[in-house]
Symmetry: C2
Subunit: 356 residues, 2 copies
DNA sequence: CTGTTAGCGCGTTCAT
DNA sequence: ATGAACGCGCTAACAG
């Protein structure tokens, strides 16, 4: 029985250390080394003595198992994919953070993919994640309301599932899967109602790209509420802010030029709301909320720091990510599940009673 | 020679499709199928006819190669790791976005790990990334100024390198590696100089956890500049804002209670600056910049939307991530490389001439 | 140009 | 309780 060289991580072979090398150093077979290190199922009983030798050898050699090899042998991995539109967008950053938090608690590694709102890229990443044998993927980006695309997405998702993968979607994607649904419609309705109760009757909406299902849902929610309240919303009073601060700024100038001039603006996300506030204050010289009221959507961290502090619709962003990851952990079920997450009105200082 | 069944992705076998199955369907050997699909090196010449058959079969079966198996055979992967403190923090989100952008351009998949500022987790993720055979990792989180930790980090990094991995650090981590260095010292000096030129002589600094090297560097830069300008900075005038908005808010109240009361505050990052502005305005009733001037750091997207718009030190965040990823792509070199990225003063409305 | 063969590193029967 | 042997899916050498 070969005594292992004294100790110290000194004599580390070049290149990755293999289980075989650990086994040799411990004077056991690779099977025993494997069992000692990962103790699979029932076969986890390895003699105290050998166990120690293996563990010591592994530590001394700074051994970490070859994940790809392990994945091949076990035909399962410990990685999950999360695909978003853009990490730099605080909305997605918050969702991703929520998802990563629970992933960490369960020892899962996450592959983050950003599509930059390119549908093709979304399909592409899905295929690559399938190739990686990611055990599940969270489709966190908004869905695209495109017939053809949805069909292709469904096909890819089916393939992913056929391979044993699990997909959970955030929001509507037109596919039958577990999904976490933020209250986009109800949230938008909340915004409208708040403004209506403050006496506003002339509305304007700064929207985003209509191709996104989240935009459609929010827009739809606002419209329905307006209609049921009996207030008119001329088509020209819905402008596209492109989901960016700058575009929203320009869109706001256009919006305020319409007749009748709106006294209340519902902005479909907080990033654009920052632009709207800027346009109103700096470009148009209008005071918020004295002359115009504005409500945003999402309640991103900076909403409270805007000028004035933004009244907005809060979505539990981190929860969305966390719950999605939870669904992954509880595995696919026979029936697709749906978790509805509420939106909440957060009143700050960008809304006030209508003076007209 | 078996004619492939008509077409259509119909007859897809259960479970992941293997290269072998594609080969059979195309009536060729798996080696040929492999070559047709991935054409390694010189051996990429596969007959036109066979090539087509293989490609068709693969498409019909919706085949994607098993990445773990491929990694095992090739002993190299196409994934890179990026470790940050917290994705929800706009600073890291921006860096990650920059890195992911170039990763995508080069077909690299990124594993994102968030340590939530726990050094142990950083070590842990590094080991797991090594296990994954990630070809490189970007240490984007700030380094920790802890002797013992740095030693352990160096050990882990060495192990990673011994396995053929490449690590590039953002900022000082106390390890000898390729690194992208944001101008933390110079940036802080810029902030001080700007304030000094406006006539300010009584400074306050809202700092962050001293254990972070980025904090130390910024603090050091500010101190040196102050000293060389001959202005005193009583130790009590440096308060810890904990890197969060809320803590910074509390810290600001404490800071303004010191004598002499500062007329200029240098805040070591924009997130805290939002809190400082809030405290000054809402808790203390002080007007910025009339009574107190404030300079932030980082120039996060929301800085221009604060009240008042924040004068701050801009760091090219996306570039930091992009350049780090570039270094990965150009592979490790004999000598560790260093890329210095400049900071820039962005004057907005939170600073003004000192009236005293 | 194409097929055969031999691993890559690990988990897992199957014996012992 | 431990070891020998095989297979996971793919690429790389070696023949032809």
């Amino acid at each position: 029985m070969p005594t292992p060289t004294p100790d110290a991580p000194a004599a580390r072979p070049a290149g990755p250390v293999t289980l075989q090398q650990v086994a040799e150093r411990a004077g056991v077979s690779s099977a025993t080394a494997s069992r000692a290190l990962h103790g699979s199922n029932g076969t986890r009983i390895v003699g105290e003595e050998l166990r120690r030798r293996v563990l010591d050898a592994a530590r001394e050699l700074r051994y970490v198992s070859n994940a790809p090899a392990q994945a091949l042998a076990r035909s399962t991995t410990t990685v999950v994919g999360v695909v978003v539109h853009d990490v730099a967008d605080p909305y997605f950053a918050a969702i991703a953070a929520g998802a990563m938090g629970v992933a960490r608690e369960h020892g899962l590694l996450v592959m983050l993919a950003a599509t930059f709102r390119d549908p093709e890229l979304e399909l592409d990443y899905l295929a690559r994640l399938r190739a990686q044998r990611a055990r599940a993927v969270v489709l966190a980006g908004s869905g695209f309301a495109d017939r053809d695309f949805t069909r292709r997405l469904a096909t890819e998702v089916d393939a992913y599932r056929a391979d044993g993968g699990h997909v959970v979607a955030v929001g509507a994607h037109g596919i039958d899967s577990d999904t976490v649904r933020p209250a986009n419609r109800a949230g938008a309705a909340l915004a409208v109602r708040h403004l209506y109760e403050l006496g506003h009757r002339r509305f304007g909406i700064v929207s985003g790209p209509r191709a996104l299902t989240s935009v459609r849902d929010r827009l739809d929610g606002a419209r329905r509420q307006l209609r049921s309240l009996g207030v008119m919303l001329p088509p020209a009073h819905v402008v596209d802010g492109g989901f960016t601060r700058e575009e929203a700024r320009a869109a706001t100038r256009a919006l305020m030029a319409r007749a009748p001039e709106p006294t209340a603006i519902v902005v479909l996300n907080d990033v654009m709301a920052a632009g709207v506030l800027g346009a109103l204050r700096d470009d148009l010289g209008l005071r918020v909320p004295d002359q115009v009221s504005v409500v945003g959507f999402d309640d991103l961290p900076f909403a409270a720091d805007l000028n004035p502090p933004l009244t907005t619709i809060r979505l539990p962003l981190a929860d969305i990510g966390a719950r999605a990851m939870d669904m992954i952990l509880t595995g696919p079920t026979i029936e697709a599940r749906t978790i509805d997450l509420d939106a909440e009105l957060v009143i700050r200082a960008s809304t006030a009673t209508s003076r007209r």
